[in-house]
Symmetry: C2
Subunit: 311 residues, 2 copies
């Protein structure tokens, strides 16, 4: 549980609580009428943990945020999925991100005692079906900060790569990178090799994994290469974690390059630790790299929502 309250230079009134409410975690921000962050809170009460009662879970969250009572709430992420508070239909990718504030979905749950607005996700249909819930809000924030074009990566359990052209989503590509990494570390052939890590060799082993990704073999084959290297003495077992991380993250870069030729400058919206890995991968593949702070982009998106949400 994390609480921090940036001190505004002049006291201002709370106007909106925005929640990035994912499957396993949530982060909440209290903003004023200008979208400046007055308080923030993060905890592990994601959609799954909150499911017995979303209104009660929300009340618990707001009680921990000074000034959070009485203002409306907007929530993005899996809270709008079939397993969430209310299933909100996906938008089609031809709806520009700038229009996202027009599509907020109002939930009137008497138990909540206030309106809760849910941000819809996007679905890409056709041959390459893909979806997002939550990332659209980060992307709207990036737009608000002047980033309307190019590849964006939002790393995590499900790493999302999104291609924007003038604020319109042209491609969504989800990679189950974080989930596969965690699953492989916990179950099966590679799990014992991933138990101990040689932190000193992290950079080298990660780069070797990136190179393995570049060779383009299917992951089901390349992953076995970690075990084969270890049992033949070609790689110490303690390199496996970083090597697998490099392989999985490298596969994202190799695919994105195949889709667009030149990836241009990649904009990463992610927390510190992962951002560092993606920065190293970008350098390795000769891709320009820039990063936006996830808290900052989320609050920038909230500022765009305020006008559409009655106080």
């Amino acid at each position: 549980m994390v609480n921090h309250a940036p001190s505004p230079s002049t006291p201002s009134s709370p106007r909106l609580v925005g929640i990035d409410w994912g499957t396993s975690n949530r982060r909440a921000y209290l903003v004023d009428a200008a979208g400046a962050c007055l308080a923030a809170h993060a905890d592990g009460e994601g959609m799954l943990a909150a499911r017995p009662g979303f209104a009660a879970s929300l009340a618990g969250l707001l009680a921990q945020m000074d000034g959070g009572t009485g203002v409306p709430v907007v929530a993005a992420g899996m809270i709008g999925s079939a397993q969430g508070w209310r299933e909100v239909p996906y938008l089609a990718t031809d709806v520009p991100l700038d229009a996202l504030p027009d599509h907020l979905y109002r939930v009137d749950d008497p138990a909540a005692g206030r309106p809760v607005w849910i941000v819809p996700g996007y679905a890409q249909r056709g041959l390459e079906v893909d979806v997002m819930r939550g990332e659209e809000t980060q992307l709207l924030g990036a737009l608000a900060l002047g980033r309307r074009d190019g590849w964006f990566v939002l790393p995590g359990t499900h790493s999302k790569w999104v291609r924007l052209e003038d604020g319109v989503i042209r491609r969504i590509a989800t990679f189950m990178t974080g989930e596969l990494f965690a699953t492989l570390a916990a179950h099966g052939t590679l799990a014992p090799l991933m138990a101990d890590e040689d932190a000193g060799a992290d950079h080298e082993a990660f780069a070797d994994g990136l190179d393995a990704a570049r060779r383009g073999a299917p992951l089901s084959h390349a992953l076995f290469g970690a075990r084969a290297r270890v049992v033949t003495g070609a790689m110490p077992a303690a390199h496996t974690r970083a090597w697998v991380s490099g392989l999985l993250i490298g596969a994202e870069f190799v695919a994105a390059r195949a889709w667009t030729g030149d990836a241009g400058t990649l904009v990463c919206i992610g927390a510190d630790a992962l951002r560092g890995r993606y920065a190293r991968a970008a350098r390795h593949f000769g891709v320009g790299f820039d990063a936006l702070d996830p808290d900052r982009v989320f609050c920038a998106a909230l500022a765009r929502f305020i006008d559409r949400i009655p106080a």
Copy 2:
């Protein structure tokens, strides 16, 4: 536990017990001096279950095979790994399969009461490190049956593709197909979707998965496509198992084709259910397909070992 005893036309004397002793299962065959199978036995006492005492585990197996007492034993598979009865060094791939009988590794464990010969596996070194233990014996059996060239696939937990040229291993490529399928079905995002299967749609969903593999995206991305299809209504959840199976098996064919251009006729050495899936995949990708019975090839390999193992 399976026992079957092919009835030989004339009674003959047991000469050797051969065991395909894998990580989780084992199959044993009692053969006469000509390599004809007198009895067979299969159970779940693989390397992991047998590890507390390999000699006792072997004694238990032989007690269930009429005529198995007193003859020498040869064992292939993970029993020769670091976690097995004795770690047997890998052969280099330039050792022809015909020479495998010259490299049997004799283990004299007093508790076993008889010599146990372990078949060494092979390691491919260099940039594409890969290994096998157990499959070399199947491949020797294929050689004994006149198959010395082309691509062989031995499907399973770790599916092995092997390229032979005149009985010499030119490429080993392991795919963690069965393991990934089982892991995805048990843990994470896809597990709930893989719980129920629409057997009636198996062929169509499997073929769709093969097509997804052909598009060449990294598996970490393509796998998420199953979830995206289901949540957008583009695919029924009950198609997911077959679709994922098609994707993972398809990735093997796409990779093998990239490595050799034309794959020629693929020879599959695998049990019925998997053999059927690989046959359908081969048809889908326009690859010639032939199959050898795993029991038959194993006994054909045993016939090659008999001369090198004192009675």
